[in-house]
Amino acid sequence: MTDRRTLLKGLALIAATVGGVERLLTPAQAQAAALPLKRLTPAQARTLAAFGEALVSGAAALGLAHYVDDQLAKRQAENLLMIRYLDVPPPWDGFYSGALAAVDGLARIRHDVDFAALDAGQAAALVGEIAAGPDPAGWAGPPAGLAYFVIRADAIDVVYGTEAGFARLGVPYMAHIPPESHW
């Protein structure tokens, strides 16, 4: 049988060694502790956080980039990202790096800066362009609609998919077996 504690370490939370003691951190805690990234570059993490924040406000502070980064380091069967449903062949690092490069590339075409440097109005307009489909002129990456859908789903998970997220909406969580931690 699967050991649930082992799964917890490997899945929902991020394992880190702090002062010689292994701790489980939420994505937000991992981000606050500036935990080293496993798969994303710092620049990709910045873009992901900014793009996710434009999609679902609150996602950046809740550690979206560290969450996605940690999940990308898991084997396919343990991965919890929505992309595993969507019949995109694993590994998925390439999908994210391609999507984030395309987001930055579009921002540079329109505004001459990376996405993370856009103001809120510019970011919202660019997200609207990406969401509307088909691929905006100058988009170079996986299909823009799919990139929007996948990263929006990740941001929704982080903001709304947890016990704290339910609470923000006033929706009773009513767990039989609650997730180990409030994120």
């Binding site: 434009a54 999609l55 069967a77 929505m82 969507l86 969401a131």
Partner: protein
């Protein structure tokens, strides 16, 4: 290659059908070994979270998409002990008499080799064992009444029922494999909507609750993380067991007198196609090139509305408390052919593919937050399960790419019959009419076509030239190899397949016990 101790029966797949076979055959004193590629889940693994529940979905070898309407495999199919039934919605309607005769009534596909009356007593036995709630008279079906009273309904269902009444569509309790009263150490449902995340309480009849505890106690051997590579054959081409890679990565042969292929429908067909030998150059059981053909699924249409009233959408069951068979006829005066059932008032969570936020995938930023705040209290949802008509060229085939063991991956090639494409549009239009009649102030449909539930690829039939198995799932020309699951269905009807999968499995398992000689190699 290591050779394991011989078994009477080796089963590939520990899902709903595999668990039933293991239970029945071990109880009859047979030595049973089950090879499962995924994890060995326990009820304690069924964490109440739509994020964590993704572990239960397909995590095996990639299944490649093809055709004009690619099938979204990974959401629909489970992984590990319990298979898809560990995260299914537990809505268990029966197929109806007309579902067995599509070939003779519509000239499409093939009739089933059995009729509704043949399967009825097996439905009855399974429902008595698994304990299903519902109201058979309200459904308008024959057969034994349900052993449990109907599920409770909440504000959302009561509001939506007004729309169905205005449309002239009768509704009935959704027949659910869910406890509506305490019985046999299984508790009454709490209606908290975690059904598809995996219900750990024992109220929902998943394989970890009913069949697996009995099978393991009776001596069934379950090997998890065991990837089956091929059906092993002797010089004459007779099946002698299954070759597999065990959890430690060692290749092994499991000899067995009889073999049950109870993996996911796609994996059963993939294994048959990949089991090539001199005696079986096109794959095992594929002398007439029928393995993989007649792949089918449902088109699912979701229609949503916002109400001024509170709808309590967090309460209830993920499949919805009510159902309608009013549009189940195969033919309409004008319009596309095929049956529709409506699921009414599913309990909904904020996130995941069927969550609140995905009902408006176009929204982001402040508009999304505003929508979520409103929808969490005021949304109403109905979903149409639309029958896709059978198409021979829709198929499971082998790709040139291979998995880490060198076995070719499966590709699903799927293009809807024109009537089926139109039926989904028809359902969405009808659903919007129903929502407005129910009093919704804002109505919209999910314009992304969802395809779910797998059938076909190893269909049953009377003619060995046009089907893969006979009416009890024996592969034509290979009496000791049995296929189980939705892959046997020549046509799919418009109801969730799990109950029919189990009724067919119960019928075949009984034959394997009572008529053992019929299953000799």
């Amino acid at each position: 290659m290591r050779s394991d101790a011989p078994a009477d029966v080796v089963i590939m797949g520990a899902g709903a059908a595999g668990a039933l076979f293991a239970d029945r055959l071990t109880a009859a004193g047979q030595r049973v070994v089950v090879l499962e590629a995924g994890e060995g889940w326990a009820l304690s693994d069924l964490v109440s979270s739509q994020i964590w529940a993704r572990r239960l979905k397909w995590g095996g070898a990639p299944v490649l998409p093809g055709g004009a309407h690619p099938f979204g495999h990974n959401f629909a199919v489970g992984s590990g002990m319990g298979g898809s039934a560990i995260h299914h919605y537990a809505s268990w309607p029966r197929l109806r008499a007309q579902d067995f005769r599509l070939g003779s009534t519509l000239g499409l596909g093939q009739d089933w080799p059995i009729d509704a009356a043949t399967l009825a007593p097996w439905y009855d036995r399974v429902q008595a064992e698994m304990l299903i709630s519902g109201d058979a008279a309200a459904e308008g079906r024959d057969g034994a009444p349900y052993p449990l009273p109907p599920v409770k309904v909440f504000a959302q269902a009561r509001l939506l029922a007004r729309g169905f009444a205005a449309r002239g569509f009768a509704v009935c309790p959704n027949p659910m494999a869910v406890m509506t009263e305490d019985r046999d150490d299984r508790p009454e449902c709490l209606y908290d909507g975690w059904c598809d995340a995996g219900c750990p309480t024992g109220t929902l009849a998943n394989p970890l609750v009913v069949h697996w505890p009995r099978a393991l106690a009776a001596g069934a051997v379950l090997r998890t993380r065991a990837n089956v590579l091929a059906i092993a054959t002797d010089a004459a081409g007779r099946a002698t067991g299954l070759d597999y890679v065990d959890a430690a990565g060692e290749r092994a042969h499991q000899p067995a007198a009889r073999i049950v292929l109870a993996g996911a429908a796609v994996q059963n067909a993939r294994l048959l196609l990949a089991s090539r030998s001199t005696a079986h150059p096109l794959g095992f059981g594929n002398a007439h090139a029928q393995v993989g053909r007649w792949f089918n699924c449902h088109s699912i249409g979701n229609v949503h509305g916002l109400f001024t009233e509170q709808t309590e959408p967090h309460m209830g069951l993920a499949a919805g408390g009510l159902m309608s068979f009013a549009d189940y006829g195969k033919q309409r005066e004008s319009g596309p052919r095929g049956s529709i059932t409506w699921g009414i008032a599913p309990a909904v969570k904020p996130n995941d593919l069927l969550g609140l936020a995905m009902t408006r995938a176009d929204l982001f930023g402040p508009a999304l937050h505003a929508f979520m705040a409103k929808a969490a209290r005021h949304i109403g949802i109905i979903n149409a399960i639309c029958e896709n008509l059978p198409v021979a060229d829709n198929r499971i085939e082998l790709a040139t790419e291979t998995d880490r063991f060198g076995v070719p991956l499966a590709r699903i090639v799927h293009t809807l019959h024109p009537d089926s494409a139109a039926l989904w549009e028809h359902a969405l239009q009808d659903g919007e009419t129903i929502l407005r009649a129910a009093g919704a102030t804002q109505v919209w449909s999910g314009r992304q076509r969802a395809l779910g539930h797998v059938s076909g690829g190893t269909i049953m039939g009377r003619d060995p030239v046009t089907s893969v198995t006979n009416d009890i799932g024996q592969i034509h020309g290979a009496a000791n190899v049995v296929v189980a699951g939705g892959g046997l269905f020549p046509s799919i009807g418009a109801v969730s397949p799990t109950f029919t999968v189990l009724a067919l499995a119960a019928r075949t398992a009984a034959a394997m016990i009572d008529e053992r000689g019929r299953f000799a190699a």
